[in-house]
Symmetry: C2
Subunit: 197 residues, 2 copies
DNA sequence: CAGGACCGGTGACTCTGTCACCGCGCCTCA
DNA sequence: TGAGGCGCGGTGACAGAGTCACCGGTCCTG
């Protein structure tokens, strides 16, 4: 176990922004971080989420390459975790085989996630992307608690277009738009759409 | 230095394809590999290139996660390198600090490249992407030896659209289309376009 | 010389995304 | 209590991006 500092932050905290220096390596024991890219037009894309038990890969890249952050990280659910300072991190990577394995596994996992994201954005139609996101974000009751704006970020698209396609999904009876979120009605058909193209 | 096997392959060889098992970890001393994703529609996107002195990250992900390949790798320039079998690779990662550093650095580098690619595809206009690719692929004489089809893969777009925009670039005097390739005339203006949006 | 493969140009689409503007519900604060 | 100010979502009109089918050219190769 490398030397570490306990760390916590409430929902909504901006953990890091592009251009900032990286204070150390973050490992979560509780909560969730959303990592996004924002274009100059103000448009936002969700890259990935870090959940409890995982390590933050944005910090990894920064520490290895000695660079500043390229993306933004926001706390989505109240956070608890360990912050491992840069030099401790490098030392642990050298000396602690378990830690090393943990980090390498995480890196490889994120790596394939990124590749999947590229595939989705570059090779897949919008409807498939939207269907995937809806399936991924639904809770146990089959409800998606997200605004159209949030779905736009998840699908790397625009808010207005999300509204339109969602209306079309609703027209076809695949989903139902309710005040408390989007209800998934025909899961199977959504899966079908998600796999197309 | 981990145990290794000399490895070579001529231009055009398909090194790996989606679904295949990974024979080991590849480190180049000569040549270049192009790594691409192909969608079910037949559309292709270039993910990255592995040059001499670099390691192949596709193999890395496969070995760590014990998965098969997700992308395709083709030899673009005659290849020379070392193939390190899976178990040797894991052992070297444990025992050889230099090897470890080399791998980690490569991973981190690719990681930011992927992020850049996502940013380009999701947040950037087509013209900017095209300009970037032209600037990246040009030789010392300012010539880009690539077909429109190849540029389509590089820009994650379609061939017909590339043709059209390239014609427009030519009309504006930014480039000149010649039988032996595309000549870059106004580098500075292309850089401008590449930075937009 | 015929056939085929690859290449690039073009018209006519469709899909995707943008912009501007609207109305609604909800909050806050004087 | 009512005026303003949100954030949210709906919509028309448009612009950007990508597709499809088809054509003609060039360069092989048999």
């Amino acid at each position: 176990m490398p030397a570490r500092k306990a760390f916590s932050a409430p929902k909504g905290t901006i953990l890091f922004s592009p251009g900032q220096d990286c204070p150390g390596f973050l490992r979560l024991t509780q909560g969730c971080i959303k990592v996004t890219l924002t274009g100059s037009s103000g448009r936002e894309v969700v890259l990935y989420r870090v959940h409890s038990g995982e390590v933050c890969l944005q910090t990894f890249t920064c520490l290895i390459e000695d660079q500043s952050y390229a993306a933004e990280g926001v706390v989505e659910e109240d956070l608890q975790g360990d912050l491992i300072p840069a030099d401790q991190f490098r030392q642990a990577l050298e000396q602690d085989p378990d830690f090393r394995t943990e980090v390498l596994t995480s890196v490889a996992l994120r790596f394939s996630e990124y590749q999947q994201l590229i595939e989705d954005v570059a090779l897949t139609g919008f409807d498939a992307r939207l269907a995937k996101v809806l399936l991924r974000l639904r809770d146990e009751a089959g409800l998606v608690h997200a605004t159209h704006t949030a779905l736009a970020a998840e699908t790397a698209s625009g808010r207005a277009y999300v509204s339109r396609r969602l209306a079309e999904f609703a027209r076809r009876g695949l989903v139902e738009q309710r005040p408390d979120g989007i209800r998934i009605c025909r899961s199977a058909e959504l899966v079908q759409i998600a796999e197309q193209k």
